[in-house]
Point group: C2
């Protein structure tokens, strides 16, 4: 556990440096809010100008405090920050929150200031949140160490969600919306510019914090993906879901993110891939963050994705059925046993089924209502039970909510409610918000949150069955691979393939011919139609150079093609160092796929898989994962492209040898693990994959070295 | 105008048949609510049991009323409905609302009852809403002719949105949510089982109703697509947007819809296509319906899709930028002139751009805030201005809202606000809700509503430029086409193509050979490689029958192929009537596309366009329209498939002759207009489209006659 953060996140004593009697200033607000919410620790205002602030004794300096405060809230102007941190360190204060703006977010000068701040923090050995943040709240201690507008709330609702936000303003708004729904928190942290502590450090604390069972984060960028990966793994092992709203999805969004925080927002699809790989739930929308975290914090996990719906409104059931189906959830039939019991227990005119429309009349009978819910919950086809409530006003809404809560207590499966009405039903909705029954007001958000929960089930399952990575090849082969890579600054296609071959990746049978005669000999050895390609480190665009001839067979044709290629290539690139012509087997008929590796600014080497041709080039239908990957990653990559059915065989073609593709992905992962430091990019395009059991051939390959 | 509905939707006098002193019964609720909201017309309770109800004189029968009431609210049990309608008709009552359930929604018996009810209504010449509905509300007259739980609201907010709902329960919930936001209505209609008047009849009234400027509908199914098309056209011409939530999107949803209303829910993609064609805005989600209608009712239309964003929260701007980009909206740069003026008018440290982060400080300066909004609104790159407000609590929220309202009044472009906070900002949000400034609490809904508005711009534009349909061919050609279609019960490929040729659709050069020699002669005439295909009305699967040979050339090869095909086909289908072998040119290289026609249960013949191969078969990447179509429809169909870039040329291929595809689509539309009554299905698969200017050839064609 990141115990070092305890003084910051759960302080027993707080010094307010720059405390003020003016409650419109940060130094005043901090005093005001700590007192207003009844902070359970000790508060020490520090300001040489005052004897007392709000009946608290005020100290002239941090050195004068009666104890070494757990944390210092630094509410002084930016120019005094560095000295203040030094003073705090000298006085033995363990941690600090720096609120002031004017650092990296303002440009070059600010960046330099922030670097200096980072150095001083490190030298002092303190734990510091900020600068340019709105602070930290501990909801169990009522430690309101923030000047957010949210602090104008009447109360702090304690709960089990830990919330870390890279936006101060949105952190406050999200808290405000969540508390409207009685959704409680353990901690809130606004990370600001992250001069020292970052998003992941705070999340890491929460993974071990017994008060936190769900971690929620607003994310603009992650600095250290390895730390994030380790944190996510620990959270998954501990069964604490991480729910993330990652913004900066689009180019346009990214531009704003960069100018806003100075943090480098990585490519968004890399984030998505990393979240999937590490078992982190990513939500799409602002309010989804709150409601998905709410669902996780209130509900047990279901065993699967099968929903049973009880409704009094046909329309409500249709809307839900649409959305569940769209999001890949199931609305199964009830078992015969449930149907039979339903027909015995309830009056005959309701149609038994799923969704089941109890009609307004039956919905108003608490005993029938509860009995039906119980029968749904007992049905082995159903994993999650939900009710739809429509236009039930005022007191009737309260009664309805009471039955729902009672019914929920009697069953042992997840049970959620979508309530379609507005404030006329507020008395009932408020009761649910105070209960352990997850309430949704939007059907879309309800379905998406449940889908996230089912996704998380998959993550948990994956934790147990993630499968092995590829086994590394023998040392001799690895040395040979390293030798190939280091031998020349630019690898030819043939060299690239030799490198792949060291890792057991299947390549075309091929040799480089230095003469027309040799080309003919090689072709004869191959014994099938061949392709001829000019081999030169300086000629990257072989087709353009006239350096490619395909499907050549026959004794006479090969030398002719050799000579044509040499002539054309010399004309195209007179200075090029041409080592000859690569003679390779034509791979034959199969499914074209592409496997590539490229470096993401945040996550480093990422592996890409897609189908050849328009599927990648026009439809951008690819799957990504940060490297290294496990077998389970590889299997998921094949399944998640839209063109996935093509691999199973369409238009009369047999299924492709997917095992070989998985094997190639794992071997590339192993290759990058060994040699990745020297490799900028890999492109196996195309790989021809034969039918099931018959393997594949890498037909063309490009390995670009770093700095090349 | 559908003036006949005026007595129902804007009654000056109302009879309540089955009025009751028990306010928990429908007959009592109707009296209670009409009085509670202060209905402006005359109310006549009818019930022989009472002299007086709630101080109103009660009449023994409808015949005893002092005037011919505009409408009768029929609150009697289902078994008395038919007699009551007859009585009302005799007494000269012009219209009625029938609330009772127990009709078509209950099964066969109920259906029969409802048919009887329909007959009686028709004979009586009355206008009747229902049965099985929750009634009608006229918000201008406070005519609360409904027993919805929504009637427990404190007031009816009048406005300019007309709302028709095919769900009673959700109608009430939607009203409740809308009124929470001070969104006002002209009328609300719950259509129930639509024994006589249907959804479209009520919408039609609203198109002409001067109090209604936006029409909003919850739709489960449309009965008469032609009437809907005409209505939509009129609404578009009058500039009244129609915003629709159509449910039953998925198979699962459809199943529920069918069991719920007995109305046949058509294929959902046909609905989407029809909405696009007729200029109807379809929303995706429950709350989108309310908020999109709100936006249309409050805002002027923008000129384009370019957004200018002012924010005090970087995070808020990123979220919006993400969503606008995802939904195809633009965040353009400001003009130099705007930038220059901004740098003169506001203090230097705000970064000038779009989105523009004014920071909390500058956001708090009303004059700067308003001035910046004005400059954004004047910028010719910007069509829509929006602000993001984050965590501004209580009184400060009220002040902020006031400036926003003042700023909005000073500019002449659409101006919307996303407010990210919760109820702490309610004082400000409520002010906006009472103003003409559209307020959104969800960024996703905000962006989607603006996108709908831009989509509507396109619909309006399209009204002016929808372009011509294909001109019909000469009479002689049409007669010839009809002759081909009627000559035989099943059309062979060659006959199908001859039919297409009558409409000027380019087909392969081809003839049917009755002998091997004739096949050779035809091939020689064609003068290029040919395909040979068995021609028999009984052999549909030619490949399976061994009845196809492709790419045959040379004198010897053609007769050989002919004989092979005849032998194989006779073996495959000994009973088949084989008229010979179709000898057709090989069309050559080009882009494969598919054009088809199929009948939708609701919308009748629909035309389909897609790219050949996996794009249709695996990715289901097609575009649909109800027939007939105009040129603009055809152009949009080509553009809206995901594979559209392929038509423009990829992987070194030249652009395809899209003009010819458009022409074929229009000619198929013309063909179906003439002959559609006899045609069940058309399948041109594939059409080979050559490069720009070089036309296309229908290579294979199937025309299936109705009943075949």
């Amino acid at each position: 556990m990141n115990e070092g953060l305890r003084p910051l996140l759960a302080p027993e004593s707080v010094a307010i440096i720059g405390a003020s009697t003016d409650f419109s200033r940060i130094g005043g607000m901090l005093v005001k809010y700590l007192l207003k919410f009844g902070y359970k620790g000790r508060v020490y205002p520090v300001n040489p100008k005052y004897e007392e602030i709000a009946s608290l004794r005020c100290y002239p300096s941090v050195a004068a405090l009666p104890e070494k405060a757990d944390t210092a809230l630094v509410a002084v102007p930016e120019k005094f920050i560095l000295d203040t941190i030094t003073d705090c360190a000298r006085a033995g204060v363990k941690s600090a929150i720096v609120y002031s703006a004017g650092f990296a977010e303002t440009g070059e000068e600010g960046k330099a200031k922030q670097e200096k701040l980072s150095r001083i923090i490190k030298e002092a050995g303190m734990k510091v949140c900020g600068p340019n943040c709105i602070g930290i709240i501990n909801f169990r201690q009522n430690a309101a160490m923030s000047f957010s507008g949210f602090m104008e709330a009447d109360r702090l609702v304690p709960g089990n969600i830990g919330f870390v936000s890279q936006s101060g303003a949105l952190g406050g708004t999200i808290l405000s919306r969540a508390q409207d729904r009685n959704i409680g928190f353990s901690h809130f942290v606004s990370t600001g510019n992250e001069a020292e502590l970052d998003l992941v450090d705070f999340m890491d604390f929460m993974v071990d914090d017994p008060e936190t069972t769900v971690i929620m984060a607003y994310v603009e960028g992650i600095r250290d993906p390895a730390k994030f990966a380790a944190l996510s793994r620990r959270a998954l092992e501990k069964g604490k879901p991480i729910v993330v709203l990652k913004v900066g999805e689009t180019e346009s969004g990214k531009r704003v993110a960069a100018s806003h925080t100075g943090s480098l927002t990585g490519s968004d699809s890399a984030y998505s891939a990393a979240f999937r790989q590490h078992g982190v739930v990513r939500v799409e929308d602002y309010d989804d963050l709150i409601e998905t975290a709410m669902l996780f914090s209130k509900s047990k996990l279901p065993r699967g994705n099968r929903i049973g719906i009880l409704t009094s409104s046909g329309g409500g059931a249709i809307i839900l059925a649409d959305k569940f189906t769209k999001h890949g959830m199931a609305l199964p039939d009830l078992t015969d046993s449930t149907k039979q019991q339903l027909s015995q227990k309830i009056v005959s005119f309701a149609t038994i089924g799923n969704p089941m429309d109890l009609t307004g009349q039956l919905y108003s009978e608490p005993e029938i209502f509860k009995r039906v819910i119980e029968l749904f919950a007992r049905d082995e086809n159903i994993d999650i039970v939900m009710t739809v409530i429509s236009m039930v006003p005022k007191e009737r809404a309260r009664a309805r909510a009471t039955w729902i809560i009672e019914a929920a207590q009697a069953i042992d499966k997840p049970f959620v409610t979508w309530w379609a009405a507005g404030s006329l039903s507020e008395p009932g909705m408020a009761l649910l918000d105070e209960s352990q029954v997850p309430l949704f007001k939007s059907p879309e958000r309800c379905v998406k949150a449940l889908k996230s929960m089912v996704e998380y089930l998959g993550f948990r399952d994956r934790l147990l069955t993630s499968g092995q990575a590829a086994s590394a090849p023998e040392t001799a082969e690895r040395d040979r691979a390293r030798g190939i890579l280091q031998a020349s600054p630019v690898l030819t296609e043939h060299q690239a393939k030799q490198l792949l071959a060291c890792y057991g990746i299947p390549i075309t049978q091929e040799e480089v011919a230095k003469s027309a005669e040799q080309a003919a000999e090689i072709a004869a050895r191959i014994g099938r139609p061949v392709a001829l390609k000019v081999s030169s480190p300086q000629i990257a665009h072989k087709t353009e150079a006239g350096g490619i001839r395909l499907n050549i067979s026959g004794k006479a044709a090969v030398p002719g093609a050799y000579n044509d290629i040499m002539t054309a290539s010399r004309r195209y690139a007179p200075q090029a160092d041409i080592e000859g012509v690569l003679v390779q087997e034509m791979a034959g008929e199969g499914t074209e796929v592409i496997v590539g590796v490229a470096r993401d600014a945040t996550f480093g080497p990422m592996i890409m898989f897609g189908l050849g041709g328009i599927m990648v080039e026009v439809l951008k239908d690819v799957s990504l994962r940060p490297l290294p990957i496990t077998r389970r990653d590889a299997v998921e990559m094949l399944a998640e492209i839209k063109g996935s059915p093509i691999l199973k065989g369409v238009r009369g073609r047999p299924p492709a040898d997917t095992e070989t593709i998985i094997d190639i992905l794992l071997k590339i992962s192993s290759l990058v693990a060994d040699l990745g430091d020297d490799i900028a990019e890999i492109d196996l395009n195309p790989i021809i994959v034969f039918e099931q059991g018959k393997g594949a051939r890498v037909v063309d390959a490009l390995v670009i070295k770093k700095g090349a």
